[in-house]
């Protein structure tokens, strides 16, 4: 079992999500792992705004193109893709943001017609991991999920008074622990204003949380899997440090989830090992997490494996990760000339080499 060597590939790879900072996106670490696999071809950054910090990092991306937000729809998206590919052919795209993945899945044929390949799950598989579906789909298949209610009215939060503390979650993003019904009402309105309805109320499971980055092969198998326990958690709940764990029960649980879904491509599982000894599936994120470099550091270059599979190349399962490998996130100021920002803002693109 060897890690992928991308040094011989003369292709162009596009990656989305270049923002780092307090809520980092996975694009920058995905690119770094691809480069670490020896890739010397062109890398294009697809961004949504000119303040995505990865734009300004020297040597990271060769070209940058601003994309319409996913909410603008398929037509605006494909129109932009046609423009970009007329300037620069793209061979592989790795989308890294939750809200855009469904667009890339639905437009796979159109992208393929432009010569662009992806390694993503099917649409039905993608929809099964929706937060609103987890609690109904998985438990009958032997995967425990904390008790979950979907609510669309604040009175339902109030009537859950006896069950607090609860997790209050948005359908796409954000999750808060509400200790009291008053906190629950506040978070209900906060999340509703940003992400709409329904709101997810989930029973709090006391235990240890683990995050697992996985590349599913699409036939129920796994090409790579690295589990971490967070060591540093920010006030936004983001893991800014973590350590690779090696736990056979956790791995078996994750394999079962991926086997049920026949997931293809990258994903992140959030799993809670309850103090009752039961493993609970909390969430499935349909993309690499921002901490994916930990996988590379532990001996599994998962982004490089995704590039190979997107191209239709054989990829054997990745080597076993080294437990005890840790990461700690380090913020650094990037210095650039204001004209760089001006170029992205005014022309919606930037050619660095």
């Amino acid at each position: 079992m060897n890690n992928p060597d991308l040094s011989g590939l003369d292709i162009t790879i596009a990656v989305t999500g270049l923002k780092t900072g307090d809520n980092p996106q996975p694009g920058v670490p995905v690119i770094r792992s691809i480069r670490a696999a020896g890739f010397t071809g062109k890398i294009i950054g697809l961004v949504y705004d000119s303040m995505e910090s990865g734009i300004y990092v020297d040597g990271l991306v060769d070209e940058v193109y601003q994309m319409p937000y996913p909410s603008a729809g398929a037509e605006a998206f494909m129109s932009r893709m046609h423009y970009i590919t007329e300037k620069s052919h793209i061979d592989v795209i790795i989308p890294t943001l939750d809200a855009e993945v469904i667009l890339y899945i639905r437009l796979q044929e159109e992208l393929q017609a432009l010569g662009i390949k992806t390694f993503l799950p099917t649409e039905s598989c993608f929809l099964l991991r929706d937060k609103t579906k987890l609690a109904s789909f998985f438990p009958p298949k032997g995967i425990a999920v904390p008790e979950t209610d979907l609510v669309s009215d604040v009175t339902q939060v109030i009537s859950s008074r006896e069950q607090f503390p609860l997790m209050i979650k948005g359908r796409y993003y954000e999750a808060f622990k509400a200790n009291t019904v008053d906190e629950g009402i506040k978070y209900f309105y906060d999340i509703q204003s940003r992400w709409g309805l329904p709101i997810i109320l989930q029973k709090l499971v006391p235990g240890d949380e683990y995050n697992i980055v996985i590349v599913g092969s699409g036939d129920g198998g796994i090409l790579g899997m690295v589990a971490q326990k967070k060591l540093v958690i920010t006030d936004k709940g983001k893991g800014f440090g973590g350590v690779v764990v090696k736990n056979a029960e956790l791995e078996e649980f994750a394999r079962k989830v991926i086997g049920i879904l026949k997931w293809q491509g990258p994903c992140e599982l959030e799993v809670m090992r309850g103090y009752d000894g039961v493993y609970y599936l909390i969430e499935i994120n349909p993309r690499f997490p921002a901490w994916v470099r930990l996988a590379e550091g532990a001996g599994q270059n998962q982004p490089a494996a995704v590039v190979r599979r997107a191209l239709g190349l054989e990829q054997e399962p990745l080597p076993e990760p080294k437990s005890g490998t840790m990461f700690i996130r380090h913020a650094e100021d990037v210095i650039a000339d204001i004209s760089t920002m001006g170029e992205v803002s005014a022309r919606s693109e930037l050619i660095r080499r």
């Binding site: 971490q228 326990k229 350590v243 736990n247 005890g324």
Partner: protein, 84 residues
Amino acid sequence: MKSDYMAQLAMNDNGFIFDPNSGYSYTSNETGLLVLRALQQGKSEDEIIRELVELYEVTQDQVRSDLDHYFLMLEAYKLVKTDE
């Protein structure tokens, strides 16, 4: 005392202990480390007591009492399981 779980613990000479199963880490003093390493090697409680008596010039009773407390703590941290 089960030594199979202990065998996977990573320890260094400074007393830093990492449990790759849970992701938790601990620190231990020299004596605690000596006991953990003995458990990793599958030594029995009596063997560990003999070793400690020789090293620290203490009585068997003193050591046994301290060791019982130490084992209770290890069990609470789920680092060892008592044989059923």
